[in-house]
């Protein structure tokens, strides 16, 4: 297996779970640096908090104020160890399940509380 280009091929790449369901993008990639050892690719982070940090401090501050206004406390962020990566290609496949991810909280909440209460929302394909 050749070298993986982290900025080009991994950061912002589409993530899919075991059954190829889309589960967000690589919002941040954490490296572990230790003297005398090569930096280790440690964690994939998915979630709004990670994205906000990439935009800038001002954006983090606005986001915090916004969330405080609406009383949102919990950060729904998923941190996935990099050794869960099964395949790196057009998408990155992770050895996880969509329903176990905290970052998919909104998707589940909308499904349960909104979408499934409207007729015609269920089933696989139309």
């Amino acid at each position: 297996m050749g070298a993986v280009h982290l900025a080009h091929d991994v950061l912002d790449a589409q993530l899919v779970d075991r059954v190829q369901e889309k589960i967000g993008r690589v919002d941040a990639l954490l490296l572990e640096i230790e003297a005398g050892r090569p930096p280790r690719v440690a964690t994939i982070v998915i979630g709004g908090a990670a994205r906000a940090e990439r935009v800038g401090r001002w954006f983090v501050a606005i986001r915090r104020a916004w969330r405080a206004m609406f009383g949102q406390r919990e950060e729904h962020v998923s941190r996935i160890p990099f050794d869960k990566v099964r395949r790196i290609g057009d998408t990155i496949e992770l050895d996880v399940e969509e329903r176990s991810l905290d970052s998919e909280h909104l998707e589940r909440w909308l499904k349960e509380h909104v979408v499934c209460r409207i007729p015609g929302a269920g089933g696989e394909r139309k």
């Binding site: 950061l11 990439r54 589940r108 979408v115 409207i118 269920g122 089933g123 696989e124």
Partner: protein, 405 residues
């Protein structure tokens, strides 16, 4: 054989999808105020859109990723926010204008004020998206949209002086009313080159599961389809130039536009004009709101497809639901649809750099396009469009202030 069916369908799709509230309004305003003189701007807009659609379609067919996917993947989240916010804002305005177009058509037919129609129209559109598939949205609205050919019939029946039309296809500027002229030129370009068109087109290539084998279909669709669509806007301009301009009628309200076809074609022309306005704007409503939801879903990596049940892609389905209902509000509270359309078109023109310039990088990236990267003709065209987009950005606000009235 199957492929030629696809080609034909693709061409029909672009024709039906080309004419919508923006091009109908701006073409007839241009024809009423400046005769054939702005025809060259329609030609320029059509050509530019053709190139952009061919490129984003090729990008999707080869890489199996949409343009929005690649905007995020190649340029990072920080940069991605710029096209996201810009496209979201202008597409929302255009979406509201399209809902306005459908509503005003219904008002002309029934006499019931347009503001009453906005919410029902949005709900009907939403129900179609909720229950329908991509094929229904794409092909259904396109086939019905062919009614727009009535503009060509109307223009021919008025017997335009073709040499004069030909001269209009060459750039020229009038000696007076320059600010208004250039303002309309910018609006026409905004109406022809809408980001939602190529974002929708590239997502559609993925929905229809295009592969490298579809590159021929893509080229013909983007080329011929836009050419025919562009001709229909030229026909609208010609009809306005022959019916409204000689009488000194300016288009101050949408209601005045129907006379453009009623004059040469009688009652049939009047009815078909209402049908065209209603159907094409409704089709565009669906396409724009899908384009917005696609861009959000692809940018953030959510599950998305118009072919999935909403329960399978809840965030995607809720995005188009919320956006569609919100976009009905300005019309429902009685905002003037024509004024809204004009502002949206200028805003669209100003937003172009953030979606056009990144293509310069993507279309030359061999990692993405393998050996289907841009050749020099496409690159020259793209550089010209990029420069044009920057000019539009700079000129939009001053022209809105000077020529908008």
């Amino acid at each position: 054989m199957k492929k030629w069916g696809e080609v034909a369908l693709g061409v029909v799709t672009s024709i039906g999808g080309f004419l919508e509230v923006g091009s109908i309004a701006t073409s007839t305003q241009g024809g009423a105020e400046f005769g054939y003189r702005l025809a060259w701007v329609l030609l320029l807009g059509t050509l530019s859109l053709g190139f952009l659609m061919e490129m984003t379609g090729r990008l999707a067919a080869v890489s199996k990723r949409t343009y929005a996917d690649l905007l995020r993947e190649r340029f990072g989240y920080r940069f991605f926010l710029l096209p996201l916010v810009a496209v979201f804002a202008v597409s929302f305005l255009v979406l509201a204008s399209e809902i306005g177009g459908v509503s005003i058509a219904l008002q002309m037919a029934t006499g019931i004020s347009f503001s009453w129609w906005a919410i029902p129209v949005a709900l009907l559109g939403w129900a179609l998206l909720w229950r329908g598939t991509f094929g229904i949205v794409e092909k259904g609205t396109a086939l019905l949209g062919l009614v727009a050919i009535v503009f060509a019939v109307g223009a021919l029946k008025l017997h335009p002086a073709w040499p004069a039309v030909g001269r209009g296809l060459l750039p020229s500027a009038p000696s007076e009313n320059r600010a208004r002229y250039w303002y309309l030129a910018v609006s026409i370009l905004g109406a022809s080159i809408s980001p939602y068109l190529y974002l929708f087109y590239s997502a559609g290539a993925i929905e229809d599961e295009w592969t490298i084998e579809h590159l021929g279909v893509n080229r013909v669709t983007a080329g011929l389809g836009n050419l025919f669509g562009g001709l229909l806007s030229v026909a609208a301009l010609i009809a306005a130039a022959l019916v409204l301009a000689p009488r000194g009628i300016r288009v101050d309200r949408y209601e005045q536009i129907a006379m453009v076809l009623a004059s040469p074609l009688g009652r049939a022309g009047f009815v078909l004009f209402l049908a065209t306005l209603c159907i094409t704007c409704f089709g565009s409503t669906l396409e724009i709101v899908l384009a917005i939801a696609y861009m959000l879903a692809q940018g953030f990596g959510w599950a998305w497809s118009e072919n999935l049940k909403p329960g399978k892609d809840a965030r995607f389905a809720m995005s188009y639901t919320v956006v569609l209902l919100l976009a009905a509000v300005p019309i429902a509270i009685g905002m003037n649809p024509l004024a809204l359309t004009n502002v949206s078109m200028v805003a669209t023109a100003a937003s172009l750099p953030v979606t056009v310039i990144p293509l310069l990088v993507l279309m030359n990236d061999g990692d993405i396009l393998l050996n289907h990267t841009n050749g020099w003709p496409s690159n020259i065209a793209l550089v010209i469009i990029a420069l044009l987009s920057v000019v539009l950005l700079v000129a939009a606000l001053p022209l809105q202030l000077l020529g908008g009235g």
